[in-house]
């Protein structure tokens, strides 16, 4: 089951969901808006290799915004620190950014229960778009889990900004 906006606000007040800072006007009927933090990461060298640490360049988004060229990829983050030990968050775009052709994730929308931090947006622009710090770029829904809960303890725990892929740290590469 998906939580209503009213229940999301109740859970934030009672501590069942973390959202820092919390603005009541970001509550929608079944979701909570996320705003864009002021940092972006860009991969500087191709081809990318999930077994190797990728080089990134960090950019600050000025108040006047930054234009993402068409068909480019950047990592951004939510300004809000978000998460829950009781509900499963799922990230979505805002219809306004989607109508401008901007993906906020590339099929990895599920946040692990117990992961609390700034959400990394996987920004893929299908056409040029200017993004601004603080713009409402995405939204998050919260879903009731079924079964015993094991909390997330993975490598992106407690993110404070956009985090590049850490897949090169995965232990399974040695077994392939």
């Amino acid at each position: 089951m998906i939580l209503t906006g009213n229940e999301i606000a109740n859970q934030i007040r009672s501590g069942g969901i973390v959202c820092e800072p919390f603005e009541h006007e970001h509550v929608n009927p079944n979701s909570l808006d996320l705003t864009l933090g002021n940092r972006l990461l860009r991969y500087t060298r191709e081809p990318l290799d999930p077994r190797a640490e990728a080089e990134v360049e960090e950019l600050e988004i000025p108040r006047s915004g930054v234009t993402l060229p068409g068909l480019t990829f950047r990592l951004g983050c939510s300004h809000e620190i978000i998460g829950s030990n009781h509900f499963v968050p799922i990230v979505h775009g805002k219809s306004s950014t989607a109508r401008a052709g901007l993906f906020v994730h590339v099929t990895a929308d599920l946040i692990d229960i117990g992961s609390v931090g700034r959400i990394t947006f996987q920004l893929f622009a299908t056409m040029p778009i200017t993004v601004y710090p603080g713009m409402r770029i995405g939204q998050v829904t919260f879903w009731k889990p079924h079964g015993a809960i094991d909390l997330y303890g993975g490598k992106y725990k407690g993110s404070t900004g956009p985090m590049k892929s850490l897949s090169f740290r995965d232990k399974f590469w040695g077994t392939l």
Binding site: Y43, W143, D150, Y152, S167, D170
Partner: protein, 196 residues
């Protein structure tokens, strides 16, 4: 409701969810990591978009190099599905952060479809991928209402399948026919007939 990792494991034990082979290390708090299968195809379409073919991608030094902004079809190494829960096939954040799409907005698996799932892979950068690497996650959702099991064409196949909307193009002379036997009535042809 979405199943937690421990509930996914319990359902596998009870036979309500199939994940073959199943490995406890692949469980996440609310999903299971699946691996990339051994077959990868580049999809090439005709200029009018009606016809397509699959071109096998060769492994070079144990990996594939995918060109950005190009559609590839791969598959899950695991046979996955459930007669009780709805499967949602999604990416892993470690792959999403590299700009790797593993499907193109069709995440829902029908109840009753148990097979190796076709992955629609598009990358934002030129990117290496490895057979058997962990590439995505699946989550399972409880349902409400009377169940009807899926028995469609895609659910009967374990290898990357072209869209039924395409009429399959033959490979150049000497090439083998790529689509398996008994191809369905192509959607495009049906649509044209509908307009007549």
């Amino acid at each position: 409701m979405i199943l937690t990792g421990s509930e996914i494991a319990a359902c596998v034990r009870r036979g309500e969810i199939t994940i073959e082979p199943f490995n406890h290390d692949m469980l996440n708090p609310n999903s299971y990591n699946y691996r990339l299968g051994e077959q990868l195809y580049r999809v090439e379409t005709s200029a009018d978009g009606d016809r397509a073919r699959r071109i096998p991608c060769p492994l070079v030094e144990g990996r594939w190099l995918l060109a950005k902004q190009q559609l590839y079809l791969g598959h899950t190494l695991e046979v996955i599905g459930s007669t009780h829960y709805v499967t949602s096939l999604i990416g892993r954040s470690s792959m999403g952060r590299l700009g790797i799409f593993v499907q193109v907005s069709a995440n829902i698996g029908h109840v009753g479809a148990i097979h190796r799932w076709t992955l629609e892979i598009v990358t934002a950068h030129d990117t290496y991928l490895y057979p058997q690497q962990r590439i995505g996650q699946i989550s399972f959702w409880t349902v409400a209402g009377a169940q009807r099991q899926y028995s469609g064409w895609y659910g009967r196949h374990n290898e990357p399948m072209l869209s039924k909307g395409h009429v399959e193009m033959q490979l150049q002379a000497g090439g083998e026919r790529q689509q398996p036997q008994e191809p369905p009535e192509p959607l495009a042809r049906e649509a044209r007939r509908g307009r007549q």
